[in-house]
Symmetry: C2
Subunit: 113 residues, 2 copies
Amino acid sequence: MESLPYPLPDDLVELIARRFHVLGEPSRIRVLDRLRGGERSVSELAAELGAGQQNVSKHLSVLTGAGILARRKDGNHVYYRIVDDRVLGLCEQVCGSLEQQLQSLALIVGGPA
Amino acid sequence: MESLPYPLPDDLVELIARRFHVLGEPSRIRVLDRLRGGERSVSELAAELGAGQQNVSKHLSVLTGAGILARRKDGNHVYYRIVDDRVLGLCEQVCGSLEQQLQSLALIVGGPA
DNA sequence: CACCTGTACAACTGATTTGTGTTATAGTTG
DNA sequence: CAACTATAACACAAATCAGTTGTACAGGTG
């Protein structure tokens, strides 16, 4: 694990923030959640998420533009899949942080007996 | 590494997105970058980042509210530090993704000879 | 060929959020 | 009192999300 330069160059700061920003929308997290189970087409995602086709298409476009998803065309459908496996790791790490915070809160609220 | 429930509950989706959203601002990434080197006071950060005191204070408040930073009062100054070490891991992972994408692009542009 | 479907894209609206900046105030500490 | 910090209120600009509508393109089907 190489460590990052200090201070971070402005360009890199922007890229990092942009990546986080892409993941900072609940709708897109839900899309990624669905894609954990494998490829999905736009219409499948739209149906499962209860969202409009154009809207889902937009979010998929953002995620694909960020290099997180890739598309595969099969006949009349376009299937999206996760190509940047690390995003799932990111989500898991975030959940780990959240869990830890909840435990700390529980200690404060409940007290250590 | 425990795997996440499927589908992710809506509450968790919101929490994950919120965490990413907090990190999705360049100014806050810069703050975290500075805090990698250890504690900093508000005025130090404001000076180093060339931002206003109130602005820096707001960002610090957001990061602290998210459980990422903690404050320590020493006399006249308030020093902030990173308490959620995982955020640095997150940034490193993001940088890893970015690097990988750049390499893929280089392969496409430059070609494998 | 004509037609339907799935998808992408563009434009527009409306609502919301957010960051920055400014100003002012208040608390705390030296 | 002076310095550091937090907070609030306000203005302004910018981004963005959802929703809608329309369109265009490609693929499949009859």
